[in-house]
């Protein structure tokens, strides 16, 4: 195939930490359902059609559930129960009595009645119920929804989106997954992450892929490369190390003793983000002082040499704590949570202080999601009244990113959380992105804001770090060094790769890489231009 395309990059959202290369297996989209129609039959006949169909779908869901081994099983079992729910069927019958076909009646019942029950904080996604609705409608209309997936060989599936029935038939033949739709929290992402299958989701451009084309699923680079020749997985971009030490310190994000041990092996220069939620989420009551001290101490003592930056409790809006006052609003995660749960945070600080003394380690502490210098001062005063830790704050809201200069004398360090910051900057819900490319850390306006925070921090005598997914991308870490950031904190598995790339370039090269990224119109151009510059010395 002399005319075949090579090194074509398709961007999406990466899931997982390994890459895969294999031929594409394009899964045909299921036949589209016919539009809702009025019935030619009597309501009695339509009711019988519906009853037969939901019973059939229930049986097939139960059968697939029985064959599933992962969390798909629970979802399928719940859907199998709900498909024959009395109240749901009652709703559908009202539509049938108005003259609608059974297909239309069931579809309308699900969207009118079930949709309002699925709140943003529920474990289930409405997608699952939408799929259930389609299964019943397809069965009634005589359309097959069964998709044949390969069971032999090694393939990268290219598919509009994956349903639980699809993932239930996954075998080792599935080397990677590319979906045109979906997002970081869609069913496909959750299953692929759990099973360690590299995936790139929300990759609309993959519609151009044809059967048999070789695909590199480069989930770390959030892209798919068609027929790769020059381009490689983001991990294996082989930079030759030239410096004895990385340009800036590479610390690790840690949430358990195991993470701390992995980070030590990878020679991380301390812990840049110790998440403390593991101690609290799932607990029925607040962990005692002794329990907290023991757990913090175990992590401190396993952590790589260097400072340990602890983030105080950050309660996600979708997982409220039983023993804390927590609002379900995302914007209340920071200051609101802090003032509403002052005692909880004070007791956490006391436990951290005791664990610090027992371990003899250097501990810094920072708060998540604060939005103004006044809020930061409140936190800093709180910490200094009880401990002698260095105090800092995470920069996750655009409002605080723009007032870093005013933090002089209040905090000693800041740490930029790029995931939340890009969400706030562009006003996008991370779990349901309309334009996923705006959430990519290569987005030039995000890069610009990081540069401004770093410059303001330097002027104010404040240490500036970056944690979040941006800091785990080895190529992007070079850009961060060029922007004047003092350290990065990476996922434990990414530490050695980030270190290597930061040992491959002089500061002048990193500064140039940052300038190149800032000049690009969008994230994907920025990523491509910086990679070309660092790998080939080329300026596009």
């Amino acid at each position: 195939m002399s005319d075949s395309r090579t090194d074509v990059v398709l961007s999406g959202i990466g899931v997982g930490l390994t890459s895969a290369t294999a031929p594409a297996f394009v899964v045909a989209a299921t036949q589209t359902l016919p539009p809702y129609r009025m019935s030619d039959l009597t309501p009695q006949e339509e009711t019988e059609r519906l009853a037969a169909s939901v019973a059939k779908v229930q049986l097939s869901l139960q059968a697939v559930a029985a064959d599933s081994t992962d969390e798909t099983r629970e979802v399928l079992a719940a859907l199998a129960e709900i498909v024959t729910d009395d109240v749901l069927i009652e709703h559908a019958r009202e539509f049938i009595d108005q003259g609608w076909s059974a297909e239309a009646a069931f579809g309308k019942a699900v969207s009118d009645f079930v949709a309002p029950l699925i709140t943003a904080d529920a474990a289930e996604r409405f997608d699952d119920f939408e799929w259930l609705s389609q299964l019943v409608q397809a069965d009634l209309a005589g359309i097959s929804t069964v998709r044949e997936l390969p069971t032999e060989g090694r393939w990268v599936l290219v598919v509009d989106d994956l349903t639980p029935a699809d993932t239930a038939q996954f075998t080792d033949a599935i080397a990677g997954v590319v979906t045109l739709k979906g997002g970081p929290t869609s069913h496909a992402s959750i299953i692929c992450a759990a099973r360690g299958i590299p995936a790139v989701v929300a990759c609309a451009e993959a519609v151009t892929v044809t059967d048999g084309e070789t695909l590199l699923v480069d989930e770390l680079g959030s892209r798919v490369v068609v027929n790769p020749v020059e381009l490689q997985a983001s991990y294996s971009v082989a930079f030759t190390t030239r410096l004895p030490e990385p340009l800036i310190a590479v610390r690790a994000n840690v949430g358990s003793v195991q993470d701390a041990e992995t980070a030590s092996t990878a020679k991380a220069a301390g812990v840049g983000l110790l998440r403390t939620e593991f101690l609290f989420s799932g607990a029925q009551t607040e962990p005692t002082h002794e329990a907290q001290v023991a757990q913090y101490r175990a992590i401190f003592e396993s952590s790589p040499a260097g400072p340990i930056v602890v983030r105080t409790l950050d309660v996600a809006s979708d997982k409220p704590l039983k023993f804390a006052v927590s609002s379900l609003e995302e914007q209340d995660r920071g200051y609101r949570f802090l003032v509403d749960n002052l005692g909880l945070i004070e007791r956490q600080l006391d436990a951290l202080s005791a664990a610090q003394k027992l371990s003899g380690r250097e501990v810094w502490v920072m708060a998540p999601m604060l939005g103004s210098p006044d809020q930061v001062r409140y936190f800093a005063d709180l910490v200094r009244a009880r401990t002698d830790f260095r105090v800092g704050v995470m920069i996750e809201l655009a409002s605080l990113a723009h007032t870093v200069a005013e933090l002089a004398g209040i905090v000693e360090f800041v740490s930029i959380g790029t995931n939340d910051l890009s969400q706030d900057l562009f006003g996008i819900d991370r779990n349901n992105p309309v334009q996923p490319e705006l959430l990519d850390h290569w987005q030039p306006r995000l890069v610009e804001l990081i540069g401004r925070v770093a410059a303001a921090a330097r002027k104010a005598g404040i240490d500036c770090s970056v944690c979040g997914s941006a800091a785990s991308d080895p190529t992007f870490a070079v850009v961060l060094a060029g922007l004047g950031v003092n350290s990065v904190s990476s996922a434990p598995a990414a530490v050695s790769h980030v270190r290597e790339s930061l040992m491959a370039f002089e500061l002048a090269t990193a500064t140039k890489a940052a300038e190149i990224a800032l000049d690009c119109p969008n994230s994907w151009a920025a990523k491509g231009a910086v990679q070309a510059f660092l790998i080939h010395g080329a300026i596009l």
Binding site: V75, A78, E81, D86, L88, D121, G282, P320, K322
Partner: protein, 93 residues
């Protein structure tokens, strides 16, 4: 015979689809062997639901940490207490 007991939702995510479906399934199978059985669940908001409908249970909107009242009609106290204990078991995550 009316038996009433309070159970606590300790599943972190509240009374969401999965436990709701499990409770509905349990109650439906109990009704199969005792057609006189009626199980009603009341939430502090004043809403109530037939426990044989997973969707109605979800519609209660019970959050983690809240109590819900389970009322069992048409069964012996002994059978009702056993059923309530099973329901409580499904609400623990």
């Amino acid at each position: 015979m009316t038996y009433t007991a309070s159970v606590t939702v300790t599943d972190q995510l509240g009374l969401h689809a999965r436990p709701a479906a499990q409770i509905a399934k349990l109650v439906k199978s109990a009704i199969d062997s005792n057609p006189a059985l009626v199980v009603t669940v009341k939430h502090q908001s004043g809403k109530q639901a037939q426990a044989k409908s997973a969707l109605m249970l979800m519609a209660l909107g019970a959050k983690s940490g809240e109590s819900i009242e389970v009322q069992v009609d048409g069964a012996s106290d002994e059978a009702a207490a056993a059923l309530v204990a099973e329901i409580q078991g499904l609400l623990i995550e």
